[in-house]
């Protein structure tokens, strides 16, 4: 039984074009699903729709988002916020802006536990210290008293990971969590996310533009183009033989330093034309019922 089921979710720009076109996908407990695509493909939009943090200009037109068997979109807003807050968390892209620069680290982690989970402060602080140790931060006591600018980008991303896992969520959305980091730091952070995910048995929706990263972290993936899911596969199957021509072209464009003759091949124009036609055809069918 899947923990998260997204069923024909369509999101539109208010008074404008579609951002997501009848997206369906499922994430089982403990599964890591990658969402890949180029910029503007709508991969971040899916995670945001689940967490209920779509941008002002976007609105859900139709579809269902079932979290543990409950349709989030059918709930009143307050009830939805509580449910999502208690069971989901986000690891954001930019560790520099995701922490409030004028508050110390400690309260930024414990707030969630105190406000949403209703813990008392002492218990929350103990838990925060435990988590910081778990994400391999040396001297958690000192770090909890630090301000964000006193820490490196990698450290801040560790803190955001600790904070995401703090309330033992069932589902975490990781939105390009390592894009802003150096490769060497990226490797450590990816390994950490993977370790934490396995240990806590959390389901993970992993948004990334980098197929290399996805191949390291995910078990399954959905390839998006223009807000439409073109291919859904297990990671093992996809990297052996991608089925959709656009998905295959995306893989061929991804650089591979071990093989200088492969990779870095632009998506062929013919594939783009065919893919756009496919999207237009889907739109037509959707319109005529």
């Amino acid at each position: 039984m899947s923990y998260l089921v997204i069923d024909r979710l369509t999101v539109r720009l208010r008074g404008g074009g579609p951002l997501l076109r009848a997206v369906s996908l499922q994430v089982a407990p403990g599964e890591v699903r990658g969402l890949v695509g180029e910029s503007g493909a709508g991969k971040s939009m899916i995670g945001r729709a689940v967490l209920g943090i779509l941008p002002q200009a976007a609105e859900v037109v139709s579809g269902r988002i079932m979290l543990d068997g409950v349709d989030l979109l059918a709930l009143p807003p307050g009830e939805r916020r509580r449910r999502v807050g208690a069971t989901c968390a986000l690891i954001p892209q930019d560790p520099l802006t995701a922490l409030n620069p004028s508050r110390r680290i400690g309260p930024q982690i414990t707030d969630r536990l105190v406000d949403i989970m209703g813990w008392d402060r002492a218990r929350a602080e103990a838990r925060a210290r435990e988590l910081l140790a778990e994400v391999q931060i040396p001297d958690p006591d000192r770090v909890m008293r630090c301000y964000p600018h006193e820490l490196s980008g990698g450290m801040r991303q560790r803190i955001l990971i600790a904070s995401a896992f703090a309330a033992e969520p069932k589902l975490i959305v990781a939105d390009e969590p390592t894009t802003a980091l150096d490769v060497t730091v990226q490797k450590q952070i990816l390994k950490l996310i993977k370790e934490m995910q396995v240990r806590h048995g959390t389901a993970l929706l992993f948004v990334s533009h980098d197929l290399g990263v996805v191949s390291k972290v995910c078990q399954s993936l959905s390839v998006l183009y223009a807000g439409m899911v073109l291919e859904e596969a297990s990671v093992a199957d996809f990297f052996r033989a991608p089925k959709h021509p656009y998905a295959a072209a995306l893989l061929a464009a991804t650089p591979k330093y071990t093989d200088p003759t492969a990779g870095l091949i632009p998506v062929p124009e013919a594939v783009l034309v065919a893919t756009r036609a496919e999207v237009a055809e889907a739109d037509r069918r959707a319109e005529h019922g």
């Binding site: 720009l13 404008g16 074009g17």
Partner: protein, 283 residues
């Protein structure tokens, strides 16, 4: 593609047009006052004092918005008052803007000792209490249109200088400036051709706000009797006179006040509207 941006832009368009129409009418009124004003704004007639506007019982034909306690026609005085208000707004606003923006641009882009000099000067300048400063100034050089304009420029140039400096500094750190240097452009060229166009929308908004402020400052100075000679009709002077008889003749106070309010509002809306419309970068 049709999306939400269009709607925002259309609304901005309505604001822009309404304010432009009001200001256009005001300019016409100021230019054509001698021909369109129904009465002589200075002509007194004590028998016709405190006549109400045309829809209130007891009005006289020909005095659309009534008369003040000395029997002067309110509408004609508002039309003539627009002359002084607009001259102050345009001249004081423009001079303040050019002076402040030029200094701010130099400080923000050239940095170094130029910035130190200008910034310290601004800091010291801003430590003077502005109202006291302008009253003192007028007391020293005497009242009159020129004094009002000078007072506004002297007090308000720092507003432009500070904002433009910050903006120029932010723009100066952008790669397009480095790119222009690589292309071989000199410092003055970069300042005028690269930075200035990018701070221009901010300057336009500040300029229109400043024009509104200038109108208010003129009105305040008139109110405390420090403006033009009391004979010339000014909105501030009318409001001051209307205040004395507000219980018997509310219209003497209300009409100039409404005109003043609409004018200041129009200036600020004009700035926002122009910015929305002519900024190619605004998403």
């Amino acid at each position: 593609m049709l999306d939400g941006r269009g709607a925002v832009r259309r609304r901005a368009g309505v604001r822009l047009w309404l304010s432009a129409i009001w200001l256009g009418l005001l300019v016409l009124a100021a230019l054509l006052a001698p021909w369109i004003a129904p009465k002589d704004p200075l002509a007194q007639d004590l028998f016709l004092g405190r006549l109400p506007p045309f829809w209130v019982a007891g009005h006289e034909p020909g005095y659309l918005l009534g008369t003040d306690s000395l029997g002067r026609d309110v509408l004609s005085r508002i039309l003539y008052g627009a002359r002084i208000a607009l001259v102050v707004a345009l001249v004081a606003g423009t001079v303040t803007c050019v002076l402040g923006a030029a200094l701010g641009l130099m400080a923000g882009y050239l940095r170094g000792w130029v910035d130190v000099l200008i910034s310290r000067f601004i800091d010291i300048w801003m430590a003077f209490p502005p109202v006291l400063f302008s009253i003192l100034l007028i007391a020293v050089i005497g009242p009159g249109l020129g004094s009002i304009i000078l007072a506004i420029v002297i007090i308000d140039w720092t507003r432009f200088a500070r904002v433009v400096r910050a903006e120029a500094m932010a723009q100066g750190a952008m790669d397009y400036v480095a790119s222009a240097r690589v292309a071989g452009r000199g410092r003055i060229g970069i300042m005028l051709r690269e930075i200035l166009p990018n701070v221009l929308p901010t300057i336009v908004v500040l300029l229109t706000l400043e024009m509104g402020i200038a109108v208010i400052v003129e009105a305040i100075l008139s109110f405390v009797n420090l403006s033009i000679s009391t004979d010339d009709p000014t909105w501030g002077g009318m409001i001051a006179e209307g205040r004395a008889s507000v219980h018997q003749a509310w219209w003497v106070l209300m009409f100039p006040l409404i005109t003043l309010f609409l004018t200041v509002l129009s200036f600020s809306q004009l700035g926002e509207g122009l910015k929305d419309r002519f900024d190619p970068v605004l998403r």
